[in-house]
């Protein structure tokens, strides 16, 4: 918000951005609540999708368009699709899983309370010594955060970037090593053999001597 306000644009746009922020934030909080209270796991997963989309929208408002789009691309477009896929296939009965859930409610409330205290500590009382008043500086015109992100990822952070790639490779190798199995009696097409087949492999012409009438 602050960045845009500093940019010296006219007040109407500011107000529009403010209204959009609160609209998205409301939807975000509501759908986040939906994720945990929905009785149907598919509804929970969909609530999470809405969460992702609205947080992406909020990121757009502060000018982080690359991250916003990638959030939608990766989480909404791929991760949640597979998640839904699995949830739908498994047909989980959350009611059963929820039984006895309230026994641990105090733990949840305690954690929530601690987090609220921390937020209060950071935002209001400055107990943590964080300088919260300073928003990001306004970017110069023609600034593209896609370009900037690319620049730091491939120069300054090239090392962890490559390592993250290795991490993903390990994930693939691990997933395949743990799940792919060759069952005995498993029939599969060998396409290269299918393509390489010739007529003489399939049809054998034999000369059958006619039976002599006895």
């Amino acid at each position: 918000m602050r960045r845009i306000a500093d940019g010296g644009r006219d007040g109407r746009i500011d107000m529009l951005v403010e209204i959009l922020f609160y609209a998205f934030a409301t939807v975000l909080v509501a759908s986040a609540l939906g994720v945990i209270v929905a009785r149907n796991p598919v509804h929970s997963a969909l609530g999470l999708v809405v969460c992702f989309i609205t947080s992406a929208a909020i990121w757009l408002l502060i000018g982080a368009e690359f991250l916003a789009i990638v959030l939608v691309l990766v989480y909404v477009g791929a991760v949640m699709v597979l998640f839904l896929f699995v949830v739908m296939m498994l047909d989980i009965n959350l009611e059963e899983l929820r039984r006895g859930f309230t026994r641990f409610a105090w733990l949840g409330w305690l954690t929530a309370g601690v987090i609220v205290l921390e937020i209060v500590g950071v935002v209001i009382s400055h107990a943590f010594g964080v300088d919260v008043g300073r928003g990001p500086l306004p970017e110069p015109p023609g600034y593209s955060n896609t370009t900037e992100l690319g620049r730091v990822l491939y120069t300054q952070f090239a090392y962890p970037f490559e390592l993250a790639a290795v991490l993903l490779l390990v994930a693939i190798v691990a997933a395949i090593a743990l799940t792919m199995r060759r069952r005995p009696g498993y029939k599969a097409q060998d396409v290269s053999r299918q393509v390489a087949v010739r007529a003489r492999d399939r049809v054998r012409l034999v000369q059958v001597e006619p039976e002599k009438r006895a």
């Binding site: 107990a127 964080v130 962890p160 743990l178």
Partner: protein, 480 residues
């Protein structure tokens, strides 16, 4: 801000670069040739490790601290030595487990690839100079280890162990990340060497909270006591070859994690984290050594023995001095040598369809397989801390440093748990030599190369014990 991008400038990072490439190449070779020549990949991996050592010695030597990749990577003589040790230990681990895995037909090429990527994760941790690289290293190692534990996928116990480790380790990773984010948010830097300068007394409560999370995560990785629940189950549940791997090589990484994070990065908070670590170390020592006594399963006993030994390593950190850290380094290296040998014996003693896991399986091993029994005896004496063996010096160094920093109570505790610990190690020796062998157990036939490796391993425990000077000097020099 950018370093010149020349290949020569990257030479100190040769081990990591080489390992990443080697893992990819071996993966591809295994994909296309693994089924036709199943023995190719393990051999190639051993070859790759040897080549790695050669490259590291030729190009990777550094005389001082070299910071690379925009401050995210640091290489120093300590890192160089730890990486050499990593190559060496992994080679031994793979060599021991080869026959075992082939007999149980769980020898697939992915295991070697995952072992290499785990080693890469270890190297990343060893050379981490940023909270970012620390985290990625931890994850790279952990992800490979999860898969390695569950590798025998038809083994339900192993799958359960992997699941347990996965869930708890994910929580620990979360704690690590949470602590790091607090520390980063309050100091404004990810670089460990800059972090030192920015942490000044008195610490804000936020930093201490972050520190607490980091300490919890480090202790979880080590398997220190309130966070040790996963360790015995995982050690016992995983196939022995996997237990051998995860009990040995990653110890280097956990040591580096503690060293880089706590003593380099958070040196400004040394008083706070030694206070946090002290009760954990004491509990770890006591629980590890006392619970090990009642175990009847050798793998589980060694798991508790690991916990006990972790307590000693943590005591080295509790001293808060460079000399103390070097004692911990010495202890770690020595411990890995010993644990490699111990699990190596278990691997060699088992055969197809028979896991030599229970203590009773070792009754009278001397009569059946003198070499194996001799090696086991040396290793057990050493782990117990009996004088001519190397384990004695490791324990002695830790206690010396505790004494030097006037931690009198800790000295007494460490000495007394050593005595308790000696009991169950020596019980194994008694089983080996003084009990009658059960009639039905056949002798093991193992490839002679592996037996030779085990002999070298056991010999190392003795030789390093008789001549402790060079390694002790090295450890002291690396951490001066």
């Amino acid at each position: 801000m950018l370093e010149p991008t020349s290949w020569a400038g990257l030479a100190p990072a040769v081990a990591e670069i080489y390992l990443a490439i080697a893992a990819c190449v071996i993966l591809m070779v295994d994909v296309f040739a693994g089924r036709r020549w199943p023995r190719l990949t393990p051999s190639l991996t051993l070859l790759a490790l040897a080549l790695g050592v050669a490259l590291l010695v030729l190009f990777g030597q550094v005389s001082g601290r070299v910071v690379l990749f925009d401050g995210l990577y640091v290489e120093d003589p300590l890192g160089y030595v730890l990486k050499l040790a990593g190559f060496l230990f992994l080679a031994f681990a793979l060599l021991y487990s080869r026959a075992y895995m082939q007999l149980r037909s769980i020898q697939r090429g992915e295991y070697d690839v995952l072992a290499l990527t785990a080693l890469l994760g270890i190297f990343v941790l060893v050379s981490a100079n940023s909270l970012l690289t620390v985290y990625i290293g931890v994850e790279l190692l952990a992800l490979s280890v999860y898969a390695i534990i569950a590798f025998d996928r038809d083994n339900a116990v192993a799958a359960e162990a992997a699941m347990k480790y996965f869930v708890l380790s994910a929580i620990a990773s979360g704690a690590l990340l949470y602590g790091m984010s607090l520390i980063y948010g309050l100091t404004g830097t990810l670089r460990l060497d800059e972090l030192v300068a920015r942490l000044s007394d008195p610490l804000t409560p936020g930093v201490i909270l972050g520190l607490a999370f980091v300490v919890v995560a480090v202790c979880f990785k080590f398997g220190a006591v309130p966070f040790h629940m996963w360790l015995p189950d995982v050690y016992q549940g995983a196939p022995t070859s996997m237990t051998l791997f995860l009990s040995s090589v990653p110890q280097i990484a956990y040591f580096s994690l503690a060293l880089r994070l706590l003593t380099y990065g958070l040196d400004g908070a040394v008083r706070e984290w030694t206070v946090m670590l002290t009760p954990i170390a004491v509990l770890t020592l006591i629980v590890g050594n006392v619970v090990a006594i009642v175990q009847s399963n050798l793998k589980r006993m060694l798991a508790y023995s690991t916990i006990g030994n972790v307590g000693f390593i943590l005591l080295g950190f509790v001293t808060g001095t460079r000399a103390g850290y070097s004692a911990a380094l010495y202890y770690t290296l020595v411990y890995v040598v010993m644990v490699l040998g111990s699990f190596g014996v278990i691997l060699l003693a088992s055969r197809k369809g028979f896991e030599a896991e229970e203590l009773d399986d070792y009754r009278g091993l001397y009569a059946r397989d003198p070499l194996l029994a001799l090696a086991m005896m040396a290793l057990m004496f050493s782990t117990a801390g009996v004088p001519p063996f190397v384990g004695f010096w490791a324990k002695l160094r830790i206690i010396q440093e505790l004494w030097a920093t006037s931690h009198l109570a800790l000295v007494i505790i460490a000495a007394s748990v050593s005595v308790i610990g000696a009991f169950y190690y020596l019980r194994v020796v008694k089983l080996l030599y003084f009990d009658a062998p059960p009639a039905e157990l056949p002798t093991a036939a193992q490839p002679s190369a592996v037996r030779l490796a085990l002999a070298v391993n056991a010999l190392a425990v003795i030789v390093l014990g008789v001549l402790p000077g060079p390694l002790l000097d090295l450890c002291a020099r690396l951490l001066r």
